[in-house]
């Protein structure tokens, strides 16, 4: 091999290396652009889907005419002190709270000391194997409220509370429980048509917008009441808070 042949071979090699490097750069630039584009588009899709879902839900909302607090709660009693109760029908701790404080609340209502506003939120829809029991139960309770049987239906739902992470009570069972407290065909139709289910999302939305995250959340005259270590308050603490709020 002469010197000139060697030089030519070396030059060719350099050109090839440069070409390969240029190709790698090109590929890197364009794949990076593609990655950024995909992520931006994914984000926009997410936002679009969410905006669309909110609009669709909003258009389906039927607000129960008996609901108070901008149509997001059911009031029981006529006392001067307001207790806001945010409960999910699937939540076992709510059930415990009801067992512990239910009688106290009923007494306070009977004594015309408090107005209880029940907010039937659905944050545990995930815990009923896809049947969205929290929403279905709250929707059914809304129709019971329309027929003047909220307290009765609320109590019977807690008495028959399904296990968390089970599929929850069926619609048929919800209707059967309705019959046991004296609501019939109109109630059955509302449960089957899921009339108030989209409205439940509004209740949950209001709950979250107020900065609450867990159930039960108990608020006495605008002040959140918690028990020891931020837990659920006992019935004694509740009575004391009501007495303090009444002045």
């Amino acid at each position: 091999m002469s010197k000139s042949q060697r030089d030519r071979a070396a030059a060719r090699k350099i050109v090839e290396q440069q070409k390969a490097a240029a190709k790698r750069r090109r590929v890197t630039i364009w794949t990076s652009v593609a990655v950024v584009a995909v992520l931006v588009i994914a984000g926009l899709i997410g936002f679009g889907v969410y905006a669309n879902q909110s609009k669709t839900t909003a258009s389906k909302v039927v607000t129960p005419s008996v609901a108070v607090d901008s149509g997001t709660a059911f009031a029981v009693g006529t006392g001067p002190v307001t207790i806001d109760l945010y409960e999910d029908f699937m939540c076992p701790i709510c059930h415990q709270f009801e067992i512990d404080s239910g009688a106290t609340i009923n007494q306070l209502v009977a004594d015309k000391k408090v107005t209880v506003r029940y907010h039937t939120v659905a944050i545990l829809d995930d815990s009923s194997q896809g049947t969205k029991y929290s929403t279905r139960a709250a929707g059914a309770a809304a129709e019971a409220a329309q027929e003047g049987k909220f307290t009765e239906y609320h109590d019977v739902l807690y008495a028959n509370q399904p296990e968390e992470n089970s599929s929850g009570l069926t619609d048929a069972k919800l209707i059967e429980l309705g019959k046991s407290v004296g609501v019939g065909d109109t109630f059955a139709a509302a449960v089957n048509n899921k009339t108030y289910d989209p409205w439940v999302a509004t209740v949950t939305e209001t709950f979250a917008a107020r900065g609450f995250n867990g159930t039960p959340t108990i608020v006495v005259n605008g002040k959140q009441l918690t028990g020891a270590n931020g837990g659920v308050p006992s019935h004694d603490q509740l009575s004391q808070a009501v007495a303090a709020a009444a002045g």
Partner: protein
């Protein structure tokens, strides 16, 4: 010469190690995204539980995040711009870890919502921040491997570069 011979198997092994890291990280992001994408309102509430943003901002973050996670998971799965994808994954993980640390520091009792809808913990349950952070650090190591050694097998990058 001795060291070169010793490191030769390692050089051959790296693309395989990176491939495993890529597949693992892809699975992490795909799972995290898919578990949240079916209920965007709940995902927004999980972000809101950190009490770092206004509820309106939290809702938008909660809606966008699962889609980003799924997209990033898919990008890692096909192996497109692996180094950049891994860098974005690492950035997200650092943000998640910072969020958990801040919740921990403020004594909030929340579920991190990493692989669930999150929210406040029920009374009687304690947050497992240490474990959650450790897990995220593990994922961060996977991303780190890809940042240093982005060459992987079965990647679109390799195909485009003309590697075999």
């Amino acid at each position: 010469m001795e060291t070169r011979q010793l490191s030769a198997p390692m050089t051959a092994a790296w693309p395989w190690i990176s491939t495993v890291a890529r597949a693992g990280l892809a699975a992490v992001f795909l799972t995290a995204g898919l578990l949240k994408v079916d209920d965007l309102a709940a995902s927004g509430r999980a972000v809101n539980a950190y009490r770092l943003f206004s509820y309106d901002t939290a809702k938008v973050i909660g809606a966008v995040q699962p889609f980003l996670e799924i997209a990033l998971g898919l990008l890692l799965l096909i192996g497109l711009a692996v180094r950049l994808s891994a860098a974005i994954a690492a950035l997200l993980l650092v943000i998640f870890i910072a969020g958990i640390v801040s919740a921990w520091a403020r004594g909030l009792q929340i579920d991190c919502g990493c692989f669930s809808k999150g929210g406040d913990l029920a009374a009687g349950r304690t947050a497992e921040y240490g474990r959650e952070i450790l897990r995220d650090v593990g994922f961060l190591v996977l991303a780190g491997i890809l940042l240093v050694k982005p060459r992987t097998r079965f990647s679109l990058d390799g195909l485009l570069m003309g590697e075999r």
